[in-house]
């Protein structure tokens, strides 16, 4: 069965929806790659919760600055026009509704947009809430970028989240390797489906009931 997009292609797809001029916070992990795929003619400004507006590409070996890391701990650079601030200002930026989007990873998303991404209830590991809760209660729009299924093949899109919630009813759009899904008042709508996959194939790999959008398109991305 089709595996759909690669992880890089998933990040590329999410990046295509970021219009010129938007301010965006990216979650740790897969979402961080979104910044590498913004079309060159758009100014999209990335915020990092540890106090940077205008995060640039990863620092080249030998050019790292110990004072410049992003939320994932990666050594980064600043773009021209970047600004530095303390954590209180950073979270005012998030909670106060000053960021247009946050794109986060998730363990599970429910049919109504509930998000679980801070505690996977692992036996030997501690959870991380980090800035996720502040972001989802404050960013103008919350999007999720994640694999459609777990490594064991279980759906991550579910009727009800089994893991502790980060927030209820906050996710508006989900990008996976198999589909682009919108959470609407009428339910979860399949906007784009990976080539080689039928709607019923997609439904079979999803734990929540989907509706096929009238204008559903193939989910395609360039070779990356």
């Amino acid at each position: 069965m089709s595996k759909g997009l690669t992880r890089r292609q998933m990040a590329w797809r999410a990046a295509q929806d970021l219009a010129d001029g938007v301010y965006v916070n990216l979650g740790i992990g897969l979402p961080q790659d979104v910044s590498n795929h913004v079309p060159a003619d758009r100014e999209v400004i990335f915020q990092s919760e540890n106090g940077i507006l205008g995060v640039g590409p990863a620092a080249l070996p030998g050019k790292e600055d110990p004072g410049l890391v992003d939320a994932g701990g990666q050594r980064v650079t600043l773009i021209r026009g970047a600004a530095i601030f303390d954590s209180a200002d950073s979270f005012a930026m998030m909670r106060g509704g000053h960021l247009d989007f946050t794109i986060l990873g998730a363990f599970q998303v429910s049919a109504v947009g509930d998000l679980a991404n801070w505690d996977a209830l692992e036996e030997f590991r501690a959870p991380i809430v980090g800035g996720a809760m502040d972001l989802v209660f404050g960013a103008k729009e919350v999007r999720v970028l994640m694999e459609h299924n777990t490594k064991k093949g279980e759906p991550r899109i579910v009727e009800r989240c089994l893991y502790p919630l980060t927030a209820a009813k906050v996710v508006r759009r989900v990008y996976t390797n198999l589909a682009v899904l919108d959470i609407t008042p009428q339910g979860m709508l399949a906007r784009e489906i990976a080539a080689g996959l039928s709607f019923s194939d997609l439904q079979a790999r999803t734990g929540a009931r989907l509706t096929l959008a009238n204008d559903c398109r193939p989910l395609v991305a360039p070779e990356l």
């Binding site: 540890n50 600055d65 030997f124 809430v129 800035g131 809760m133 502790p164």
Partner: protein, 222 residues
């Protein structure tokens, strides 16, 4: 004459006692007062409550404090780093030797800011309807639910800055600033390690991110 400089890390930690609540600056590796934490380890102080964004990287002084059994409680937004193996903190927590209060990062810093600004608490929408808001007072304001968050104080704050002067003015390098300014306002004793102690006036007034009034002791580390 005001002179907050001390000569040694041991002097910088003078009076830090067993059972103290200690705020620790830093995000990932940026802004962590690693020399002060190593001095705290050497000092042998125990039963500590650590208030920090995370539990520290695998080889950090903070994890050494956990491994040595010095920390009784962690208040943080993150309980794990990028390491594949569970950390000494995680082992201690899972075994019931260490208490863990997990706080959303923005609430973590705002509670400190609140304490440092003389406020009695604040209402926040973050976490409403989740288990992290369980038991908190809920209040509807203009049609939205908020929970009451309380100030977060400490006996000691340990900070790291790039430059400091004898009045205690601090200037942080890039994103090493993170929690430093809030922690500097919220603890009874504020101790900063700095890469370089400079003359008064060398830190331009607009670069004094933490004004000296908030700082009690300053030690140069290399």
């Amino acid at each position: 004459m005001i002179d907050k400089r001390v000569q040694t890390l041991a002097d910088a930690l003078d009076g830090v006692a067993d059972g103290c609540r200690i705020m620790v600056h830093g995000f990932g590796v940026a802004g962590v007062p690693e020399a002060l934490l190593n001095a705290l380890l050497e000092r042998g102080t125990t039963g500590l409550t650590i208030i920090a964004n995370g539990a520290g990287r695998a080889d950090s002084a903070m994890q050494k404090l956990f491994a040595a059994g010095r920390i009784a409680k962690l208040i943080a937004s993150s309980g794990r780093g990028r390491s594949v193996e569970p950390s000494p903190f995680e082992a201690g927590w899972k075994a019931g030797r260490v208490e863990f209060e997990i706080v959303p990062q923005g609430i973590f810093v705002e509670r400190m800011r609140c304490a440092g600004a003389g406020l009695g608490g604040f209402y926040s929408p973050v976490g409403v309807g989740t288990k992290l808001a369980a038991g908190k007072e809920v209040r509807a304001i203009a049609g939205r639910d908020y929970v009451l968050e309380m100030p977060l104080t400490a006996d000691v704050a340990l900070l790291h800055a790039e430059r400091g002067d004898r009045w205690g003015n601090l200037s942080y390098r890039y994103a090493e600033r993170n929690f430093g300014p809030a922690m500097a306002t919220a603890a009874a004793l504020v101790v900063a390690e700095v890469d370089k102690i400079v003359e008064l006036g060398d830190i331009a007034p607009m670069d004094a991110h933490t004004p000296g009034v908030f700082v009690d002791r300053l030690v140069e580390v290399t």
